[in-house]
Amino acid sequence: MAHENELNLKATELRLGLPGTDESEDMVSIAKNNKRASPESVEDSGSKANSAAKSGDHETSSASKAQIVGWPPVRSYRKNNLQSKKAESESGMYVKVSMDGAPYLRKVDLKVYNGYPELLMALENMFKLSIGEYSEREGYEGSEYAPAYEDKDGDLMLVGDVPWDMFMSSCKRLRIMRGSEAKGLGCAV
């Protein structure tokens, strides 16, 4: 069998041809392109990731690595069990809550609440303030305080925009801001 391009071995870092596939469950089969004449993908979504491996750069930990079918070799049973439990136990637990002007922070367990109304009520009780009604257009227009949170990317977001489940898994800490400062959060930067 002809195996050309042996040089590529040295720089063999399996790289992605497609950006931003982190959250998806799709497994794309990547054949090592310098070993086979026609890389075939097994469970692909129409993508043929090939020449990515040829790039001279080595060993950078890419933000999102492609997932190869069956790699790492972990039994499906283990995969299924670990994913669900990890999701439950890791995210949406105790997050710090800061309030502008307060001397110390508090902590709340997000898992305890079933949705935004309960969370907001708990925050109102905890800090003895009122937050008011959420509207998609105006945020918490008119209230003295507005709840914001820091998400996985480090961005400051307004509480209430995304579905509760998504919020639970992405919220890293809460911040209760003064209504006047929060006005800017209503619009995209």
Partner: protein, 573 residues
């Protein structure tokens, strides 16, 4: 001279032969030994259910009491084999029922088990005692109900990592009040609820119960009550552990744990608050086996505190969240460690450094008795592997898995050939090896040269040319199972020594360079091999071109020709 030994003497001598290889060897000596052996063999092990037919097995071993069967090839674990490939146990049970086999024990791995099979099993063998299912599928809790209801002398029901459909029936309540013989009950893989009161009563009346693994649906206060009834337990698995260290349940659990001084093996903890772990501290000192690989909720600090107390540990299964530092604690605490498995906690591998070569080196330095390793790591170096080889020459199983399958030596950027070479050279008893990382043909040269006892080898994304595979086929005389994926081995390597495959159990090659023509040639030459091609997708309309590469090939030796239950997408050439 030996021919004149009376059979009774041979029989008595053979009763001391317990291992299958020994018995197989004895049966080859002469006809009379063959006959004595076959009538005296009670435990039959069949590593590939398609290598022989049930009828032939029964006719050769009419007194079989215990049968072990393995179905799908190993790579089925990693989604490389489509559903309905095969491996159904039903024909075996039918044949044994017809043949009035006095079956007492059935152990299955990677097989399809239907409720019908379980029902037939339960009703056909009055002395049935032990059912062990590992990585099987196809049955529901209705099948378990049949087993519970009918097997009057059941001692062992051990379900490990099976996919079981939960029918929300009351299978556990089906154990009659007269059932007191259970010594092992493991239903940790079931998702649904069980009747907790029935469970408590069952445990209370089975005074010989030594091993109990509960599923997530058994709540912590039930756990506490159950343990109170079974202080004689040796092995405990509890997925649903207590959450609140201030609670009454926690106190009760703590007290009852102190009385469970026989527990040597612990697993589960799927759902636990790490602050409640102190309740198990009293038993840690006696633990020889600890499986926390399904416990992502236990963070590194708590884990380390726990391990500090487990000085007698021989087997440890853990997640890579333990980190290199945590492994250092294991190394300094668990001096009697023999088996270590470190599993990846984050399967999406987004560059968080979990464990590296450092952790492994620390373990090798601290645990000289280490003989079995499964290690998923972010990176590895040749230097580390060479050190490990020097520190631990006793490896029987060495499986290394770098999360990036072709990553080179993290320091030198070289292939990891030298590292694995050191392992095979040093570990003269090595029977199983999985390699990963950047690897050239050189590593296979080493393997062929030094791995004289190697029986199973797993290769992925490795090698440069046919030479690699040839080194292995020519060198490893005891090779039984070879599985290769995504490596540049083609027809030349496949066809160089076709007789070799009759000395092996099986060969798997996927995403390699072998073609239809090559596989056909092999199949024609070797009638006692089944060469199966798995076709997926719609590429396979009509006969493919001989030059076309084969995506998945599985070949195995067999005495019974092509299997009759092959689905449409499997072609036996």
């Amino acid at each position: 001279m030996i021919n004149y030994f009376p059979e009774e003497v041979l029989w008595h001598v053979f009763s001391f032969l317990t291992s299958h290889p020994d018995r197989n060897a004895a049966s080859l000596v002469c006809k009379s030994w063959y006959n004595v052996e076959r009538f005296s063999r009670g435990k039959v092990f069949i590593g590939n259910c398609y290598a022989i037919s049930p009828e032939r097995m029964i006719s050769r071993f009419p007194r079989v009491r215990s049968l072990t069967l393995k179905g799908k090839p190993h790579f089925a674990d990693f989604n490389l084999i489509p559903q309905d490939w095969g491996g159904n146990v039903y024909p075996w049970i039918v044949a044994m029922a017809k043949g009035s086999t006095n079956l007492e024990e059935l152990r299955l791995k990677r097989m399809v088990v239907s409720d019908e099979s379980l029902e037939l099993l339960a009703k056909s063998f009055p002395n049935f005692k032990s059912l062990v299912l590992v990585s099987c599928e196809g049955f529901t809790t209705d099948g378990l109900a049949a087993i519970a209801s009918n097997c009057r002398f059941l001692r062992e029901l051990d379900l490990q990592e099976n996919e079981v459909e939960d029918r929300r029936g009351q299978w556990l309540s089906c154990f009659p009040d007269s059932c007191t013989s259970l010594s092992s009950l493991n239903f940790a893989c079931l998702k649904g609820e069980v009747n907790v009161a029935a469970l408590e009563r069952l445990v209370a009346r089975c005074r010989n119960l030594k091993s109990l693994r509960l599923n997530h649906a058994v709540p912590p206060d039930a756990l506490q009550k159950i343990l109170a009834q079974a202080p004689q337990l040796v092995d405990l698995g509890a997925d649903s552990f207590v959450h609140d260290p201030e609670s009454e349940t926690y106190n009760k659990l703590k007290n009852v744990m102190q009385k469970c001084s026989s527990i040597r093996s612990l697993s589960g903890f799927l759902d636990v608050n790490a602050r409640c772990l102190p309740s198990i501290y009293p038993i840690c000192i006696n633990l020889t086996s600890l499986n926390l690989s399904y416990a992502p909720g236990i963070y590194s600090k708590e884990l380390v505190k726990l391990i500090h107390k487990c000085k007698k540990l021989q087997r440890l299964w853990i997640l890579d969240t333990i980190g290199d530092k945590g492994l250092g604690v294991v190394a300094s605490t668990c001096k009697e460690l023999q088996e270590l498995r470190v599993f990846p906690s984050d399967l999406h591998v987004v560059g968080n450094v979990a464990v590296t070569e450092e952790g492994l080196v620390a373990i090798s330095a601290g645990c000289p008795n280490l003989n079995s390793l499964l290690y998923f790591c972010q990176q590895m170096t040749n230097a580390a592997l060479i050190t490990v080889a020097k520190n631990c020459p006793n490896f029987i199983r060495f499986r290394l898995c770098t999360l990036n399958p072709t990553i080179p030596d993290a320091v030198t950027m070289q292939p990891l050939d030298e590292g694995f070479g050191a392992i095979v050279q040093s570990c003269k008893g090595l029977k199983r090896l999985s390699v990963s990382g950047l690897l050239t043909d050189q590593v296979f040269l080493y393997i062929g040269m030094y791995a004289e006892q190697l029986e199973m080898l797993s290769i992925a994304f490795a090698g440069d040319s046919d030479k690699g595979m040839l080194y292995v086929l020519n060198g490893c005389k005891k090779l039984k199972k070879l599985e290769i994926r995504d490596s540049p081995f083609g027809n030349m390597a496949l066809l160089a020594d076709t007789g070799k495959y009759e000395t092996m159990r099986s060969l798997w090659m996927s995403s390699c360079g072998v073609t239809f023509g090559g596989c056909k040639t092999l199949a024609e030459k070797m009638p006692r091999l089944n060469v199966e091609i798995i076709n997926e997708g719609d590429e396979m309309e009509g006969r493919p071109d001989d030059r076309q590469k084969v995506e998945k090939m599985y070949l195995y030796r067999t005495l019974v020709g092509p299997r009759k239950d092959a689905p449409d997408f499997v072609w036996t050439l």
